[in-house]
Each structure stands twice: as C-alpha cells, then as structure tokens.
Symmetry: C2
Subunit: 546 residues, 2 copies
Amino acid sequence: MKSAQTLIEEGISALQHRNYYTAFPESPRAYGEGGTEKAQDDFARLLNQDFQELKSEGASAWVGSEVSPYLMTGLGIRYPQFDNEQLIQRATAAQRTWAKTTPMQRVEVLTQCLYRIQERFFDLAVSTMHTTGQGYMMAFQASGPHANDRAMEAMVMGYQELTRYAESVDFVKPMGKFDLTLKKTYKPIPRGLGLVIGCSTFPTWNTVPGLFANLVCGNASIVKPHPKSILPIAQVVGEMQKVFEAAGLDPYTVQLAVDTPEAPVTKGLAEHAAVQLIDYTGSSHFGEYIESLPGKTVFTEKAGVNGIVLESVQNPAAVFGNIAFAASLYSGQMCTAPQNIFVPAQGIATAEGHLNFDEVAQGIAEAVKGLAENPKMGPFTLGAIQNEATAARVQALNEQAGVQCPSEVVSNPEFSDARTLSPAVVVVEAAETARWKQECFGPALFVIRCSDREEALSLAAESARELGAITSQCYTTDSSFAQQVEETMNAAFTPVSFNFTGAAFVNQHAAFSDFHVTGGNPSGNATFADANYVNRRFVWVGNRYA
Amino acid sequence: MKSAQTLIEEGISALQHRNYYTAFPESPRAYGEGGTEKAQDDFARLLNQDFQELKSEGASAWVGSEVSPYLMTGLGIRYPQFDNEQLIQRATAAQRTWAKTTPMQRVEVLTQCLYRIQERFFDLAVSTMHTTGQGYMMAFQASGPHANDRAMEAMVMGYQELTRYAESVDFVKPMGKFDLTLKKTYKPIPRGLGLVIGCSTFPTWNTVPGLFANLVCGNASIVKPHPKSILPIAQVVGEMQKVFEAAGLDPYTVQLAVDTPEAPVTKGLAEHAAVQLIDYTGSSHFGEYIESLPGKTVFTEKAGVNGIVLESVQNPAAVFGNIAFAASLYSGQMCTAPQNIFVPAQGIATAEGHLNFDEVAQGIAEAVKGLAENPKMGPFTLGAIQNEATAARVQALNEQAGVQCPSEVVSNPEFSDARTLSPAVVVVEAAETARWKQECFGPALFVIRCSDREEALSLAAESARELGAITSQCYTTDSSFAQQVEETMNAAFTPVSFNFTGAAFVNQHAAFSDFHVTGGNPSGNATFADANYVNRRFVWVGNRYA
C-alpha cells in the first residue's frame, strides 16, 4: 500500500508521460488465492436480503430490482432509499466540513478509499458480472483495478490543479517613489454538491472518476446508479462511507441514491438548486437533457458509434480476428466497441493478395463466428446481454438482408440460463444510412460497402461528427492515407487506432495514458481525465489584504 | 524585446508565483518622449477618413459611428465592413493553416504581435480616450501595457496547457509472457473559429485575452468590437494582420467585423454554425443570450455589482478617500468599480472614535466631492462618460431622496465639451432593494443602512450571488469578522479586498497575479486567466499505432 504522497508523485509523472502505469495490478492472481470462490459465496448470501453496507438511518424505503443476466433471476437485494431532500440536506451539511479540508487531506482520505475498495475487488467482480453481464475477467478488471486507476487519475489531476498556484504571495509592485505591497491568497472554492449518474454496463468504472474528481475538489457527492446495476457501486460507496466515518469525517460526504425503473428520482436530483455538478454516463437522449439543464456544470459520456476504415492490411486473418474480438468483448456493450466497418467496394489489398468486398465481409463473419463457437473463448468473451431490449434489437437484425452471420444463442457452461448472443454481421450499402447510421448497441457489426476509400473515410468522419464516436480504427498499409485518416478523424475530435492486431484492442483505454472520450463530438462533453475534468469543479478566488 | 521563449519561461513562472510581473512597463515614460503629442497629431489625421490599417479587399461597405466623449463630436472614421459569410469563409480558410502550426510557432507570431502593438501604445491611449472616455493615463495603461500583459498571460497559459503532456510515447504494457507495445501520440486539436465580442469601455483590455487565447490554441478569430469603440482594437487587429502577413501566414487568421448600432451583425456571427468559441464582454442581458446558444463554448464577462462592507476602520479619511477614488476612477465605468456600501445603522468604530451612520455617509460624500472638485485630479480621474444613457441614469439619481452629494458637471481644462460628471452619493435603506439591488452603471455610490454588520455582510453576499460581483471590499479591524466576510463572500465566488487605502485600489486587477472575474457568480462564466480559460479552446485527441 503506497502513501497518498507517493500516489500523487507517481500519478503526476504518469499523467505527463502517459506510458503504462497502474497502482492496482489488473491480474486477479496479484490479489491472492481463493478470492473468487469466497466472493461467490458472499454474493450468494447477499441475495434476497437488505444490503447492510451503507448508512441506512432514516431510509424511507428499501428497494431493488436488479436481474442477473447470467442467472436470469432477480437478485432480490434491497438498498436503503432516501427522500431526495434528505440526501441533499445531508450532502449540504457534509459539504460544509469537506469543503474546508485541504487538497492533501482529501487525497489522504481518498487514497484510503482506493485501498479499501481494492480489498473488495473479488466482490466487485462477482457483483459486476451479475448486474452487467460482463465476463468474470473483464468484471474483475473493469470494476476493480481499472476503475481504481481511473479514480486515482482524476484524484491526481485534481490535486495537481488545486495546487498549481502559490497559496499566497507577498505582492510587491514598484511604484517609482515607493512600493505597493499587498498580501494575496488564492483559494480553489468547491463548486457545490455533485450528482454522479451511473450506467447499467460499467457501474463503477464510469462512476468513480467523476466521484473522485468531485471529492478531491471538495464537493460532497450523491451517486445515482442505474436501477439495474446498483450492487457494485453500493459496495464502493459503502467502503467509502466507512473510511470517511473512521477518519472523523461526515460519512454523508458520499451517498447513494437508489431508485427503481418505475419511480425514477434522477431528474428531481439533477434539477435541484443545490446540485451544481452533474456527471452522467448513459443514453444520448437523457444525456442531452442533462446537458440542457441551466446553471449546472455537466460532464457527459453518451453514445458513440465507432467506425473502422478498412483499406489495406498485411495479415487479413489477424485483422479479422482482432475486429471480431473487439466486437465480441462483452457482446459489443462497451462504449468503445466498433460497430461500422467502412470497406471500399473494390475490396482491399493484403500481403496475401487482393480480397474482394465479399471476401472481406465473409472473413469478418467467419472470425466472429469462430470466436463465438469456440467453447473455451466464446461465452467468456461475450459475457451476457445486460438488457432484454439489446438482445431483441440484435436478434431482429437476423431478419435483415445482407446477414453474413446471424446472431445466435451461445451457451455458457457455467450459467445455463445466461442471455448470451453472438454478434450479427450484416452487409449494407453506404446509401442505406437508415440501417447503419445510428447506434445499434450490442453485438452487431455492419460491413458498409463504400464506393472507394475516400468515401469510407468521409462517411466515418461524418458519422463521428453527427452521431458521436468515442474511438475509431483504421487498417491501412498506405502511410499517406493513414495521415489523411488521422487528420480527418481528429478534426471530428475522434481518436484513431491504426492496424491493431494481436493483444492490442481498440476497446481498451488505459488510465494515465489514453484520454477516454474527447469531449469534442456528440459522444460526450468531457474526458477521463484532462485538466477540464477537474478545473470546472472548483473556482479560483483571490483575496487581497492591505 | 524579449524572445518568445523568454516570455514563455518568465510567464509560466509568473503565473505560478503570482507576484508582480509585467513584460510591458505601465509608465508612458518608459516609451520615450513626445509619444503623446505625435499620437494626438496622428489621431487628428484619422478623423473623417477611411481607416487604412486593416485588410480591406472585398469590403462590402465602409462604416463607423464613433463619438468622442471628450469632443462630443463624431470621429467620422469609417472601417471596412464585410459580409458575415465572407468573414467566416476567410477565417475557415486561414484556420486550415493556423491549426497545423505548433504551439511554439504560434507563440513566436503572437510575441511579434505583442511587440508590434507595443509600438502603438501612444496611439492606443489617444484612440481609447476618444472612444471610451477614459482619462489619458488610464487609457495608456489599460489599452497598452495592461492589455498586452493580459494577452501574454492568456498566451502563456495556453502554451503551458498545450504542452503539458508528452507529444508521443512508446507505450509498453507488460502482459506476463510478452509486452504489448504501441506508439501513441497526443494532439491538442483546435476547437474551431472564435468570435470575440468587445465592449464599449475597454475595447482592447477585455478583447485581447480571448483573442490571444483563441490564437495560441490554434483557432482563427473574428473580433467584433462595440460599434462605439472600434478604433483601438482596429489598430490592434491591423498590427496583427501585418505580422501574420509578414510571417507568411494568412492575415485573415484575425479579422475585424464592424457594424453600426442600426444594423448589428453580432447575432448572425454568434449563431453561425462555423463559430465554435465565443468570448463576450458586455451587458448581462446580451451575455445571457450568448451563454444560451447551443453547442458553443462560451466565455463571458457580464455586469457585476460590487459591494463594500464597511464595519470598522483605522483612519476614516484614508478609507473614504480610497472609496472615493475607486468610485471616481473612469467615472465608475470599470467593471471592478464599487457601487454599494453596506454600513451598519449604528455606524462604525475608528481609531479616532465612533462615527455614526450619517457621519460615514457624509465622509464618503465629502471625499467624492473633494476629489471631483480638485482641478488637478477630478477631471483626469473621472475621464468622460462613454454613453449618454449612463449620464442620464446618474443625473436622475440627483432627484432621489437621500442624496448626500449630487452628480455634477465637472469641467475639463483640455476638453471644454467633455461629458464629465462627478459621482452621486445616495443614502438608501437596506429594505429599499429596488433602489440599490441592481446595476447602476456609472459614477454612483449607494450607502446602504443595514441593521448591523451581519446584515451588511449577508446583503453583500446575497447581491453577489444573485446579481453577480466581479470583486468586493471590506473594511474591518476585527480579524474574526474579516474571516467571516472572506468565507461568506468567497462562498459566493467573490473575491474580497481588505482595508485598502493609499495606492491600493479595488479596481486594479494585475495580470499574472489577480484572477479577473471568478466565473462562479452571474458576473461571468470565465476568468482571466485560469486553466479553463484556455483548455476549453482545444480538445485532446490521442492516436495509437500498432
């Protein structure tokens, strides 16, 4: 366990240099033997009970409506619910103390939180599986070490910005015959209460960056999870409340606001006058509502439709395999998963000779099918479908024209009822924009026949500008075309990953190295984690004393 | 003349340490003899002519409607006007080149601009006098060295943020049996075209920070001056166009968009799809419209109503004199000028004994009157009233109840027709909010009778929260009350200057030391110059290469 000071020093260096860095190793093996089994047992004991890890005094109800996409049964876990006004009052009271702590005091408390959360990585893996449908390994990594790294990244960026100016200065201005002298101080004043709205698929990874950014900047926060993905973040918030309480701080500095799909509370909290900061991950429709709220400082990650420009390759099998894996990982339910593959109608050059368009589409389809049907890989890579609507949407593609491989049920040897589907691969024409130029969330790939590579690029860029894109890919062996792709996609504020094969997947955004979401296109207005991500959470105020 | 590299190094250090720093000395004496006289002659030759310093090819008209508040005659200077679409097309074309320059290339060009502008400081002083009504010394300092310092501050902050990450990294992630290696690059992509909307009172000081921030971040910009204050910024833009042209860059990287009060063009530019960034200084009403525009990144400075909490003092004459000067400087037409003085009904303690409320009000009124009637000080401190509506508003106060000293015409020995008025000082009751709880722009002070010091503070903070405040003051000898004032005003995101007497005036915000506007209350959403001021003008995009 490293000290807060060490994490800050390592983190500041890592932020600048952007090489691989983690404070929380991503392999479960780093955390000892038997963790998974114990976590599975503990999870079983949570089912159909009232969740006891959160502060619950004054709860107005106990609610919960989570369903495991692996078990296809309700978890039956009930969480303490509080009236919005009570949440706000408690947060406001906690804010008075928290806002007065120094940046280093906050970092010390938040570092303890990170290490307390680390002790729960196995629990988070199991709870994330059974709320989101992620495979075990992804659930462990995404909700455990990767989420903690992103939280730490936000904390470090916050600390760096909060301490970038002298705290005070003895100002001396020569005035000719005399000096004007003043004492000046500079204070980063916290903006106010934060609301962090989580999504159903990455309940901790997408939530803790905003939460830790708020907290390091001195803002008490209310976490509002998706009603179908509460347990992982409830475990995180429970640990944090214990750390705050043990440190003699108000445990209500971090609160959980749960609700049900039938009686949502999010708008009431978001519109509350006391809430100044809103972090949001989820659908574009609700995200646009959040962005439209007057007088709020808002950080959003909405839907992105990620494209691949496929122009020429060295090794087609390696490329098709890479695309298949990127699209299959967690059944395409990652915000970074590819959806649209733009391919010239004349096909592509490869080191093994020319492949025509149909051969490309077929190669991708076979790679997708091969992965899904591999019993040692398929079900664990695909995980399960979080939401019934996603399954229905993808299965409907099977009825469309141009299906290269249909979405099929994949059986999971550990969970016989798991809602698992292989990706559909569908060939469409560039002009059929109604079919591909929208988000089709879930396991689906569209192979889009473009007149040439210029059209492939221009459609990819247009889609990024209009629909948003969190990332994009390009396969080309032509360096001048690569440069053109980079400039064109970057001008749409979309990053490009070039020629990924092997263990490099477009889906993966590493803390301290990859900016996640650029904030420049409709997929979101914020980035994990640039300076804006923290600086907009506080206000510099300078006082002067004669 | 310092090199771009030196300015960056000095500027980065100054930004952090926040002591007094300038690259452009504020005394006219530093710029040689005879400058004023030459500038006056040159100004006389500009009158009733077409202004020749700007690129004018393709102008659709020549317009101008400026009136000198000293001469009370129209200047008759006509500037080239262009159709909005032509301005946008030229800016878009220029942007393509400018966006590809490196941060250091931009700094080198902008440094040349600063030094070219420096050669025009005397001209800017005269042109600022005769558009804004500022006194000569203020006009010299505000439009010359102080504006250049603020422009440099924005440039330095931009350079620092644009270069804060490694440009590229050879990313190596240990994967157990092998390493995953990727090359990654990080690019700050300019947001897009900028529109910088100026105000009538500080046509360069309030404009160049946003302009230089846009440019250093790679965004071509259109400057839209107030139709009554064009000449100073036309001179600045003219110099910049010459620097760009001489550097082999597109001179239309910076353009001036002039209009007349009868046919305004601002909304057409602000709402244009190509305009991504808007900087605005001016009325709250139009500022709220600018802030409401969807999809724009907006930086505003709107009206602030600045308060003084007057609780106890050492030397009442020094305090009354300081307040009188702060309210008289440029006739209260500074955004940092005080308007409302909150005084306990029981009066204030002083080192010379207790003063009752009436004695306080009378003391302030006498100091104001004494300054205005001092022929060596009054007219030069007051300058002239920029706008007839301001004069009418202040003169109307003379008819109100509670007038301690009426606003009176002050004669200027150099300009017999100058529109110069002394400040009105009016006593009002705290409950008479309709009289004081609004902006009364111009030379006016309200002395507000509060039940006690707690009410004085609470009204000052409430006013800052509701109306906005760019700054505030407090006079108190009680350190615990001072702390209470600081916390309460800072919580309203308003800075406090304590116990200013002598040469320290609340009006003055020094580049590199004082944040100007906090961005946290309704007086504006941005700050000269914190990191947000530049980071929101570009987007980080990271590309990855296998």
